[in-house]
Symmetry: C2
Subunit: 195 residues, 2 copies
DNA sequence: GTCTATAGTTTGATAGAC
DNA sequence: GTCTATCAAACTATAGAC
């Protein structure tokens, strides 16, 4: 039984794929491009992964898991609605920041998954949005927010959040936590009544 | 000299391409797919356009023009900053709504333009964002907005706006104008001091 | 685990008949 | 303006030697 280190070959393949898929797009990246980045021949990649589609799935699936694991404990906590939503926004932002190429793939390339993975993925995305939506709904029920519909407000929050991957720089001025908090402030103060 | 009607063959080709590129993506759409949608053979398409890249350019370029034409008169008007930004948001939303497939291509597929078109396009996008940014900056200078940096606030506005193309339905409850106004309200009331 | 060689498709685009 | 026929290149993936 081999012990897998951080420089595990399969991990290297996946990380190189994240960078290329994020930069050029899934379809615009050939297995030859990927092999070249790893200084391999294309055929050698198939020792580590079974297909290009599996590679896309591995990237998107791991990223999805990270998003769920980040917000679930917060969702289940006893925080009040405003604090809970803010913490979820910050947590989501932190997942993006520490998985920058992977989340670009996650957001932009999922449509190229082959079935049945594509449908399963779409379901998970809906489930994730539903968690945010239920917190927003709570805010309406508690009369904390103006009564805009949940779907509209939730999509606006996630849109503002998910766009950050296009401009966030790890070595920029703002830390992920600060970006999340600032975003939450802009969005929430717009939603909260009598502030 | 021929009079071009609405059912001009080239226009038909472009509109079919908008639908397919929007739905499946530029690279995932073959010229054969496009020909099939028009009940033609692939070779016949080249009577009307010179290359697949030109087709992508025509779609993105027309869409860019529409965005500039929609916001420029508002930008140059004498409206106060709050009203101006709201009107620009509504106008932008209306362009998305009446060019739904084209704007999906505009937002998601531009990276697949060949050079030098890709660089020119990136420049136009920056110019467009700069117009919004200058209005946001005015709001900071007038002490109308909290002092978050312009770039951050501007990107958040455009992110919320540009995500609407993923869920907006022409036959849905909300008209584009209502979506724009609601979006502006959420974003601006979050930015305006002492409201 | 990596290589060379290659099978089998699909791609964007062109030539030339009608 | 549309067709048939076709080219040259690129693609994912496999077979089998080392």
């Amino acid at each position: 039984m081999e012990v897998k280190g951080k420089t595990d070959r399969k991990t290297q393949v996946i990380e190189a794929a994240e960078a290329l898929f994020s930069d050029k797009g899934f379809l615009a990246t050939s297995m030859r491009d990927l092999a070249e980045a790893l200084e391999l021949e294309a055929a050698s990649l198939y020792t580590h992964i079974s297909s290009k589609d599996e590679l896309l799935f591995l990237i998107a699936d791991r990223c999805a898991n990270e998003f769920f694991e980040a917000i679930n404990p917060i969702y289940k906590s006893n925080l009040n609605t405003e604090a809970k939503l803010t913490a979820m926004i910050v947590a989501h932002m932190e997942v993006i920041a520490r998985n920058l190429p992977a989340s670009a793939v996650f957001f932009n390339e999922w449509k190229h998954l082959a079935e049945p993975r594509k449908s399963e993925y779409a379901q998970r995305r809906d489930d994730y949005e539903a968690i945010f939506r239920s917190v927003v709904r709570k805010g309406f029920e508690e009369n904390l927010f103006y009564n805009y519909d949940e779907g509209f407000s939730t999509r606006t929050i996630l849109a503002a959040l998910n766009w950050t991957h296009t401009w966030y720089k790890p070595d920029g001025e703002l830390k992920p936590e600060e970006i999340g908090e600032r975003l939450a402030k802009i969005l929430l103060t717009g939603l909260i009544r009598n502030m």
